[in-house]
Structure formats: structure tokens, C-alpha cells
């Protein structure tokens, strides 16, 4: 590895950044409407799976904000076993292959996070420590951790949770458990 003076490295990085900016400006991104939604139907709060194949969005079902899962390649809607109730839903999040879908649901007057395992069909309800209502959640790509936004003494906090004792890893390469050597 050649060693360059800091000023040369900064100049090199700036040149790369400028070149990338020109490339990005030169070709405007290829965009399309998320497939599988009726033209007159509103869609909110998108979450894309790590492999880029699945999309979770919040849509209105009989007036209730409900999470919907779609295959981006076919536009087909995929069934969810536990998420036809406990609305309103918000803040969906998907693991790498979309095995796990995390979303905030409501039970009675309390908000709670729920992770649906699409392989086993199980639902894993999660309540943040301190029994606080979650506001937003983000699932790690392999499903082994979750970040939850909660209100605590008048300010927003983010709590990290370890889900490794509850969920199998969902890693790139398919719906299987990899050995530590295979890693990501």
C-alpha cells in the first residue's frame, strides 16, 4: 500500500467525489412507481428488504393503516398471517431476505412492536424495556438486532435490543442458517 501525503489523499478523494457526482448527475436515476398498488391508492412508509426483492408499505385497508408486503419483481401481494389486525400499523422494517417483518402495532391503548417470521409463521411481540410505547423501529439486515425509538423523560431515545436468542439469522444467500465461518 503506497503512502501518500495527507494533502494528496484529500485531493484524490475530492477528485473521486467530483467524478462520482458528475456520473450521478449525468444519468438521472431510473425510477418507477412501486408495483402492485392500485393507481388511486396511497402508499406510505416504505421498507425494502436487504436483497431488494420485497417491499413493505403502509396502505389503507377499510380506513385502517395496514402493512402490506409485495414482491417487487412481480408486484404480487404476499400473505401475512398476523398483520391483518392490531392497526394502525407504522414503521415497517424487513430483514435481508424478507423472512422477518417488524412493524409497530396497537393492542388496546398501547403501541408495541411485532416481528412476523414468514418461515415459521410465528409472531414475536416486543415491548421496549421500561414498558414504553415504540415510535419507530429498525431491524438489522440479519434480524439479530433491533433499534427502537421511544420517548423517555421528555426526549427521544434509541434503544438497541439483542434478538439473537429469539430469531435465527436471515443472511444473504437464501433462507437458511449460515455457520459463523460463512458470515456476511
Amino acid at each position: 500500500m503506497r503512502r501518500l501525503p495527507p494533502i494528496v489523499r484529500v485531493a484524490e478523494n475530492s477528485l473521486i467525489a467530483a467524478a462520482v457526482s458528475l456520473l450521478m448527475l449525468g444519468c438521472s436515476p431510473n425510477a418507477r412507481r412501486a408495483p402492485g398498488a392500485a393507481v388511486d391508492r396511497q402508499q406510505q412508509d416504505p421498507a425494502i428488504s436487504g436483497n431488494g426483492n420485497l417491499l413493505a408499505v403502509i396502505v389503507e385497508q377499510r380506513g385502517r393503516p395496514t402493512v402490506e408486503l409485495r414482491d417487487l419483481r412481480s408486484g404480487q401481494r404476499l400473505p401475512l398471517r398476523h398483520l391483518n389486525r392490531q392497526q394502525p400499523h407504522s414503521s415497517p422494517s424487513l430483514s435481508w431476505n424478507g423472512r422477518y417483518l417488524a412493524v409497530i402495532t396497537q393492542r388496546g391503548n398501547r403501541r408495541m412492536a411485532l416481528v412476523e417470521d414468514r418461515v415459521t409463521g410465528r409472531a414475536h411481540p416486543l415491548r421496549p424495556p421500561g414498558n414504553r410505547d415504540p415510535v419507530r423501529v429498525s431491524l438489522a439486515p440479519d434480524g439479530q438486532r433491533m433499534a427502537i425509538q421511544v420517548a423517555d423523560r421528555g426526549r427521544w431515545r434509541v434503544e438497541m435490543l439483542d434478538l439473537s436468542s429469539m430469531l435465527e439469522p436471515d443472511r444473504p444467500g437464501g433462507l437458511r442458517v449460515t455457520t459463523p465461518q460463512e458470515g456476511t
Partner: protein
């Protein structure tokens, strides 16, 4: 043992109470949340480094949040191995307010919506080269929420157009 009852006058009632407690615990346990473990060291480190945090987005080894310190909110990138914020040169502009963020699974790219000079912009940041670029929205609309896939090549973005919320899928080079 729970089944053991006391051999005194209140023994029968005490035993009944205990069995009721066990039954109640089982019933509640069956429909309550599972045993989850807060990551105490990481959470303490997160609390120490900011006054408030919101809008978390997780990559495999990284967490990004909108973090407030001294009354100013900025995007902060945190290494999950040690819970410390890492520099992200060029990401936070003094004249911009972040609205929504999403990390790619590998932590290399970060999509964001920001407000600057009265306009709402969709941006893409590349960490390794410290480059922040504006992405065009076509047909035009106002972006709100973003979500990037694992390698940061596919972006889902919630956009308002003609008074309605919609979601666009954008393929990025």
C-alpha cells in the same frame, strides 16, 4: 416448590393464591412480549453521546440516527462494535435539516431527505468517498421517507404528488 402448601390455618388459601398467580402468569405470558435483551453497554454509549435521538436505521455493523446536541440535530453514524460515533465528512450541512434517513445493509450508502433553503431534497451519501449528491425525482414531488436495500442500489422513497402519498422505486448506479 410452588405446589408445596403451608401447614397452617391459612395454608389452603395461600396455596390457592399461588396457583392463581401461576395460572395468571402463564396466561399473561402466553400473549405478552418475549424475553428480549437490551444491549446495555451500547445503549449507555448512545445516551452519553447525544441529548436525544430519533429515526434509527440499522445496517449490519452500523446505526445511524438523527441526534440532537446543543439544540442542533444532525445525522450521526455509530459503529455498533463500540457504540462510538464515526466522522462522516460532508454529510451534515450547516444549512440543512435532516428529515428521514436510511442506511444500506453494508453501511456504505445513506439515503436521506433534507430540507434546505425552503426545499425538500432527496440525497445520497457515499461514506467511503465522503460524497453527498442530490437525486432527481421524476415526475416531480416532495420526498418524505426513504429506505435503501442491502447494497444501496435500490431506493424506495415516499413522495407526495398532487395531494397524495405514493412510493417510488429508484435504481441507483
Amino acid at each position: 416448590m410452588i405446589a408445596q402448601s403451608r401447614k397452617n390455618n391459612t395454608g389452603g388459601r395461600s396455596c390457592l393464591l399461588r396457583w392463581s398467580s401461576v395460572l395468571l402468569f402463564t396466561l399473561v405470558g402466553g400473549c405478552s412480549s418475549e424475553d428480549i435483551r437490551p444491549m446495555q453497554n451500547l445503549n449507555s454509549a448512545l445516551d452519553r453521546s447525544s441529548d436525544a435521538r430519533r429515526d434509527p436505521t440499522l445496517a449490519q455493523e452500523w446505526l445511524a440516527t438523527l441526534s440532537s446536541r446543543g439544540g442542533r440535530e444532525r445525522i450521526e453514524l455509530i459503529n455498533l462494535r463500540n457504540g462510538t460515533p464515526v466522522p462522516a465528512p460532508g454529510l451534515n450541512r450547516a444549512d440543512a435539516q435532516p428529515v428521514s434517513i436510511s442506511l444500506s445493509g453494508d453501511g456504505e450508502r445513506l439515503a436521506l431527505v433534507q430540507q434546505r433553503e425552503g426545499r425538500t431534497e432527496l440525497m445520497l451519501y457515499r461514506r467511503s468517498i465522503g460524497a453527498l449528491q442530490r437525486l432527481d425525482i421524476n415526475p416531480p414531488g416532495v420526498p418524505r421517507q426513504v429506505s435503501l436495500d442491502g447494497d444501496g442500489r435500490t431506493l424506495a422513497v415516499q413522495i407526495s404528488r398532487s395531494g397524495r402519498w405514493d412510493v417510488d422505486i429508484i435504481r441507483l448506479p
